[in-house]
Symmetry: C2
Amino acid sequence: MEVTLKDVAAQVGVAPSTVSRALNRKAGVSERTRSAILATAKRLGYIPNAAARGLARKRTESLGFLVNPQQLLRPDAFYLEILEGVEQVTQERGYQLVFSTENAKVLLKAKRVDGLILAGCDLKQSTILLLKRRGIPLILVDNHLEFDQIDSVVIDNVSGAYTAVAHLAELGHRTIGFIAERLDDLNFSERFEGYRRALQAYGLPYDQALVASGPAELSGKPEDATLYGQIAMQRLLKLKLPTAVFAANDGAAAGALRAIRAAGLRVPEELAIVGFDDGFIARHTEPLLTTMRVHRREMGQVAARLLLERIAAPDQPVRQVKFSAQLIVRASSGKELAREVRDDPKLSRPAEASRTSAKYISLGGIFSC
Amino acid sequence: MEVTLKDVAAQVGVAPSTVSRALNRKAGVSERTRSAILATAKRLGYIPNAAARGLARKRTESLGFLVNPQQLLRPDAFYLEILEGVEQVTQERGYQLVFSTENAKVLLKAKRVDGLILAGCDLKQSTILLLKRRGIPLILVDNHLEFDQIDSVVIDNVSGAYTAVAHLAELGHRTIGFIAERLDDLNFSERFEGYRRALQAYGLPYDQALVASGPAELSGKPEDATLYGQIAMQRLLKLKLPTAVFAANDGAAAGALRAIRAAGLRVPEELAIVGFDDGFIARHTEPLLTTMRVHRREMGQVAARLLLERIAAPDQPVRQVKFSAQLIVRASSGKELAREVRDDPKLSRPAEASRTSAKYISLGGIFSC
DNA sequence: TTGAAAGCGCTAACAT
DNA sequence: ATGTTAGCGCTTTCAA
């Protein structure tokens, strides 16, 4: 049989409750007994029984991680890296990490965890709200709800996209296109917004012919991001030829590169391109992709910490942590354009580029982790 | 407060034990009371408390999934797809899936699960043996131990590689190279073995100059598989020019394609190539990659089932389920070589190509799931 | 077929 | 500082 707390108590010659106190570092145990208890516990190879502890404490000491299965298999392993960050924190805090793809029986799962990390913006809103109504501590990662106050960890898409487009503008580009596999995605629409703001800031006109996305009907396979990017780029090239393109993510950028190559254009000489995410693929395109780095691992860590804090203090105000993306310049955006293009008077610089340097921005002021 | 079994009992007007029996479909409850209990349980929204159940039953109703963090982030999402298969089965059976990367505190984790799925061959053998000695039900996926009898689910690498190389031989190739990011990997060494057997079967001489692998020192980053494949191919090209190459996995094949392109050779006309895994990348190389498909999802499902069976019957004989890989022909292996090459008398066909059609092969006979 | 009772291993309130 | 006691919510003998 397994070694129980009772066994340890018997060995040391104290009551079980004393052992419990000692093991949980609670006050009210003399240094002498505590060390004796710790020693014998170790010697006996005592490992606490999680079920019993959970039952007594009315907690499970475990966090759930819920993700849309489609998203999970994204080739860039986006949510995996988030998961890794989460795992690290749960590990440190002695919590279990219960993994689940978004299928039925959510509530059943939910009962078995102290809190739930909901990753990605493809989770059904009804699911989220159902969980919220049940009073289960929640945190959204790479997602947020407009009106329902739930803690969240998100990417600063608007300023990230702004930075990407500003980078192109600074290089001298004046006709900058935007492509995305689709536009009805939370992240992508925010990145589109950042694109527009940057155009505005640099005095470049918005031209709808410079914006394209993939087919309306989604295949559902996330790995088709590339294909959709390719189609979007083909469409864009038919409408108008930009000198640069900002793609809403790396997958789309990779697809775009194919379309561009098929069209016989050189990158970055004839067409520069910037992606978003800095996933695996960005270091494997030809040429290497300039992109906005998203700190996935850190997002996962922060999400886990926020959730644990929420569990500890359920009534604290709702928080949002926004991670800024970081410009990673590689070959695909190329060098400056020729002088004659750059010095065109129509290309004005913004008074002040709004580059967020703060890593964390909370809804109600500065937040630091 | 949560609805408990006691509440249901009180509502129906029976004893808690009866409710327990009814809910667990145990014999000895009249149809009348059972349906009454089920109805009120549903009406009250009763969800059993996992901790209490676990404590009483001395089981946790949860399985652990352990994977090397390096491997987890492989860009081809190999273990993720296995994880997905596992998740599906645990979900169906009402088990929790506890996720963990291979870090310390394994035993602590282990105590909280009924059994452990160990994915990948990069887990420390000492860890595996430690867990085994503790008597924790285990199953290895994409890994197996030579002498220590532990249930496992593996890929039939030898015959898979054989099939891949046979495919090239059938196309008329006579100088077929082999590359791998490294050779000290369980899977890769078995694939090398299959390569050699196919050469033998087709009467092609083994030539060490046709075999190359990446640098001995590993970077540790799994995403460098591509880079290592590239280096391996560069090395191979320096030694001897084959007309075809079998790469031990798709990542290496993708790297090889780069090296081949850099060398100015056309694929498949001048150099044909076949990979292994049929991961994401295989559908994203230029040209598309002929490869051996590995049924990752199914491997995960079978692993979970086997583990649950092992938990239910700890003393049954050890089993190994071997999944055969499936040849997926795409552009990179090309069409048949020209007739004059093909009809060379030195190219003899094997009497009988040993293609496994059986999907499952167990250690002790045919096994079917 | 059903109920009563004990107990799984731990925690926490109350005593001392 | 430590012990005693009473559960946490469920399962499982053992009786009836």
